[in-house]
Assembly symmetry: C2
């Protein structure tokens, strides 16, 4: 039986900042699941900054650009409605990186992972226990490789990735400095989010001013820098980076909507004299370590030791707004879209 579903489309490639006009909901047909496939009903849908990179049709990247002819694609937590795959029963909840941005979708069971709603709310499997959480854990443990007593700087610290980096860094005995774009976010970072000092970067609107704030917060320099933002943040971090510093380059959200290349930091030469390493990465580079990540972070989330924030939007129709919000600093923690009625 073929089923109808609402699906979110990209109607045009954004030039600069995306807006709601770049998105539209259409109706699609959802084929019945074949052998090894599942019919899924979306419960929670994910919006993530990396998707902006797929909205540039002319750029070669690790993942192809979105088509205007097909529904958008992204991560989602879904419930199994029909299963033609061993190990999956109707009623099970699953998470996958692909297939979302529809109310119903058919998907190979391969690539879908069953999740347990008793450990954490379902939406957490898109955030702290999902791809952003795994990104945070990988960059911190596999690249920055923290040592007790070292100083960590995290840009975009109130985001889905940054907020876990801060807390895991703190748990490893680091002095943690985070930057975020509002006093509310900074207050949360200092009270619950693992930061010794949170810097509202909007008060320091140049790399020179940000450098001064950072140098004051990190008198011994920054040993590890977790990069989510780029621009002034990277230049400031390179000004205060310590000898032997490590930088995990995860994202540069400040640049994603540029229509032309903005100049980069003028002080990369500091990396030479100070013996600094920078490693760019995407989470799939470390996917084989997922069991290690779950073993460490799962219990911390279940026990409430790790805190996380979410900004929720209601309904598939709001996916465009949620995505646009990523680039206006409107979202606090992970941005998720409630699609199913069981999205609690």
């Amino acid at each position: 039986m073929t089923r109808k579903s609402k699906a979110m489309y990209l109607t045009s490639y954004p030039a600069g900042l995306p807006s709601g006009d770049n998105f539209a909901v259409r109706e699609v047909e959802v084929p019945a699941p074949g052998a090894g496939e599942l019919l899924l009903r979306t419960v929670w849908m994910s919006v993530d900054p990396y998707m902006r990179g797929r909205m540039r049709p002319d750029v070669k990247s690790y993942i192809p650009p979105f088509s205007l002819e097909e529904p958008l694609d992204g991560g989602a937590v879904s419930q199994v409605i029909e299963s033609n795959a061993e190990g999956f029963e109707p009623g099970d909840y699953v998470v996958g990186f692909s297939g979302g941005w529809k109310e119903y979708h058919t998907s190979p069971a391969e690539g879908m992972t069953k999740v347990d709603p008793s450990i954490a709310p379902l939406s957490a499997y898109l955030g702290v226990l999902g791809m952003p959480g795994m990104t945070a854990w990988s960059g911190l443990t596999q690249i920055i490789n923290p040592k007790e007593g070292e100083t960590l700087f995290v840009s975009g610290a109130a985001g889905a990735v940054g907020s876990l980096v801060c807390q895991l860094g703190k748990a490893r005995g680091m002095r943690v400095i985070g930057s975020a774009g509002s006093d509310e976010k900074c207050a949360w970072l200092e009270s619950e989010g693992g930061c010794d000092v949170a810097i509202n970067y909007k008060n320091y609107p140049s790399s020179g001013e940000l450098t001064k704030a950072l140098a004051e917060a990190a008198p011994k320099g920054v040993d590890g820098y977790f990069e989510n933002v780029g621009g002034d943040h990277l230049e400031a971090a390179l000004n205060v980076i310590a000898f032997g510093g490590r930088m995990a380059l995860c994202g540069m959200i400040a640049l994603y909507n540029n229509t032309e290349l903005a100049p980069g930091p003028g002080n990369l030469v500091n990396m030479i004299g100070r013996g600094v390493m920078a490693q760019g990465f995407i989470v799939s580079n470390y996917m084989h370590l997922t069991p290690q990540f779950i073993a460490e972070v799962g219990p911390l989330v279940a026990s409430g030791q790790v805190k996380f924030r979410e900004t929720t939007y209601d309904g598939l129709d709001k996916a465009g707004d949620a995505f646009v919000g990523l680039f206006h600093g409107e979202n606090f923690g992970k941005a998720v879209i409630r699609v199913g009625p069981d999205a609690l």
Copy 2:
């Protein structure tokens, strides 16, 4: 007995490009060697780009700035005149990173290494078998970590460091692309210097043009980039860097004489999607591997398999000119200054 010696001084800190006016020869007293010390007569003296960094009195680096009140300091090959240290006899030749830029100097024997003129000409211990050679070997083997069939790009390929990187990369089965600033240098790189393709960067005066030339020479992208130059070279390398690429950041000579920070590459974000690693380094980070370097490169130099070029200047008085020449692309291979009559 105290001895008189000519010594080269920095008379003023250069603003921008250094010139001969920044240097002057003065007479100094050379104390008699105490216990554990040597009286040394300089034979060959070294000029190296890193010294420019020590001519900025206001910049904190891994090594303090030069004083205007004391002779300049740099590497040299010297002959022992008097020895108060076990294991050193008058007539021995030694190399050290410090103490040069005088005709005679007294130095602790610690830090001086005896060298064998029968393996290679004495000046080679300042170049291919000395600090630049060790720099080349360390960056290539410890950071880029070559694999057969990969592509290597080396900027400043005709320099003391770059020319060895190219040859060692070629010997490890890499496709090697080098850049240099004259057709003569490029011809040598392709005939003797280990390059499959040498690019005269002066024909490509923008990062866009350099990118095109590089993409043509490296159709599968660049797996390893050895950075000596910075500026357009780094931006071009980041445009063609391959997935999993490694960049050894050794120097950025294009920037050393800037009086203000020049903007950096606008495409650092490529490091993220392509999983690229960049490691800044100075040779002293790898000093413990010197025996491994000598064991590999010594025989290659002795047998003539590794080729090297030198640009020689005559007399201590010419040290300023030699140094200034580094920033005008005037030197081909290692720049050395003949100080002693036995500098053959």
